[in-house]
């Protein structure tokens, strides 16, 4: 059985460490906040200018001046600080954030990431993704293993416009977990399989080379 969205988030939460400053992308990565292990102190950064992001507000307590990078209403914590966008990206670009978890349309076996544009079709933009993958110490991708049409997303080389070159450390898909030696020349390594998924099945749905 492939992992569900929540199981993916749960698996991604295993990458958290006590004391980490973490930026979570939109979608499944946002769910990782629900699985921070008890007793572990993790501080969430929101690139629109906040460190120490709290849960969604109670109904009736939404504050239009307090949103996350997905434009959702959120709350503050005791430790929260607010800052400008340039301070926020100084934090990100300057290597002060420990971990970034984000989604992907394609990842290559060398750790290249594409997640912001489909030429001629989708006009959304990269937001903060290019800065995050260039500056954050460790980058974890959480994604479906194949596209809606069933095409592999783990490729030898990305076909879509890139978000970053050689930036991804770990890919968690609904079928398994891969480690990427982004600074070296070694192949991608299959670390884990989702329950009931075979090596043959994952190989058939993966274009990238792995061991």
């Amino acid at each position: 059985m492939p992992w569900s969205r929540d199981q993916l988030a749960q698996r991604a939460a295993k990458e958290l460490r006590d004391g980490y400053y973490v930026n979570l992308g939109i979608g499944i990565p946002t769910l990782v906040a629900n699985y921070i292990p008890e007793g572990m102190e993790v501080t969430l950064q929101s690139e629109n200018g906040m460190l120490g992001m709290g849960p969604f507000p109670y109904e009736g307590e939404e504050d239009p001046d307090l949103i996350n990078a997905g434009k959702q209403t959120i709350t503050a914590l005791k430790k929260t600080s607010y800052f400008s966008s340039s301070d926020s990206f100084a934090m990100i670009r300057g290597g002060h954030i420990d971990l970034s978890i984000l989604g992907a349309m394609e990842v290559s076996e060398r750790g290249d990431l594409a997640n912001w544009m489909v030429p001629g079709k989708m006009v959304k933009g990269m937001g903060g993704a290019m800065d995050l993958v260039a500056g954050v110490k460790r980058v974890v991708v959480v994604m479906e293993h194949t596209s809606k049409e069933g095409a592999p997303k783990l490729l030898k080389a990305c076909e879509l416009p890139l978000t970053g070159v050689g930036v991804v450390d770990l890919v968690i898909s609904d079928l398994g977990v891969f480690e990427i030696d982004k600074h070296g020349t070694g192949p991608m390594k299959l670390l884990e399989l989702a329950d009931g998924v075979t090596r043959e099945e994952i190989a058939a749905k993966t274009q990238a080379a792995f061991v």
Partner: protein, 235 residues
């Protein structure tokens, strides 16, 4: 003495808006946008403008109002996914678009306001945004040269301000406003609360009044894009 306080957004833009101008507009999504000045800019009838803003508003609100009236010729943004009219105008070729990574956009505004012509960043190296730009290797890593941005006019929104133009922002409504305030040849700020000079704690001021040419007290809708809540029993 020069009076910075104007009675309304329309009069605050008088003499500052002209066809073909470049405007920086603060805010992230609909959070911390200069609602009143965007409407005043629309009503000024100015055409062919380039707007530098992280996002492009939504259909019918924020910068979406200026897209509806086709007053915008070009947008410089990092993310524009919330606006159907934007997508339509862009895909049909009516609107120019320059995507900047969000951090690069923020730093370009900061640099422009600080008199820094350019800076090197790792963001975007090897991607479309680095195409045609100079690169340089520092300590074995490749960086791309990005330039500082200056606008003819910046419009920003703060929570509190005084008659000197000193500004205090609130929570995540700060976002791009402080840098954009520094990077406009002229800057007009709208605030929720306007107080006499001397009432703000000087240690608490985020944007010193030197950057702000005109200030106006606005009326705000403060729309929420994604209203997300939790139930009390789950607390």
């Amino acid at each position: 003495m020069v009076k910075k306080v104007f009675p309304d957004a329309g009069s605050a833009l008088e003499g500052l808006a002209f066809d073909g101008m470049t405007v920086m507009s603060g805010g992230f999504g609909l959070c911390g946008i200069p609602e009143n000045l965007i409407i005043a800019l629309r009503d000024s009838g100015v055409k062919g403008i380039t707007v530098i803003s992280n996002n492009a508003g939504v259909d019918g609100w924020g910068l979406g109002l200026l897209l509806e009236t086709k007053q915008i010729k070009k947008m410089v943004s990092s993310y524009v996914g919330e606006n159907k009219e934007f997508a339509r105008q862009f895909l049909s070729g009516e609107l120019e678009l320059e995507f900047n990574p969000q951090g690069t956009l923020a730093e370009r505004c900061r640099a422009g306001g600080a008199g820094i012509a350019g800076f090197y960043t790792k963001t975007g190296v090897g991607t479309l945004v680095a195409e045609g730009k100079e690169t340089k290797v520092f300590n074995g890593e490749t960086y791309v040269l990005e330039t500082g941005l200056v606008a003819d006019l910046s419009i920003v929104k703060a929570w509190k301000g005084d008659e000197e133009g000193n500004l205090i922002f609130r929570k995540t409504a700060r976002n791009f406003n402080p840098m954009m305030a520094t990077a406009g040849k002229k800057c007009v700020a709208e605030v929720e609360i306007l107080v006499p000079t001397g009432e703000l704690d000087p240690d608490a001021i985020h944007t010193p009044g030197i950057y702000v040419d005109r200030i106006v007290k606005g009326e705000f809708e403060k729309r929420i894009e994604q209203r997300t809540t939790r139930k009390r029993e789950n607390a």
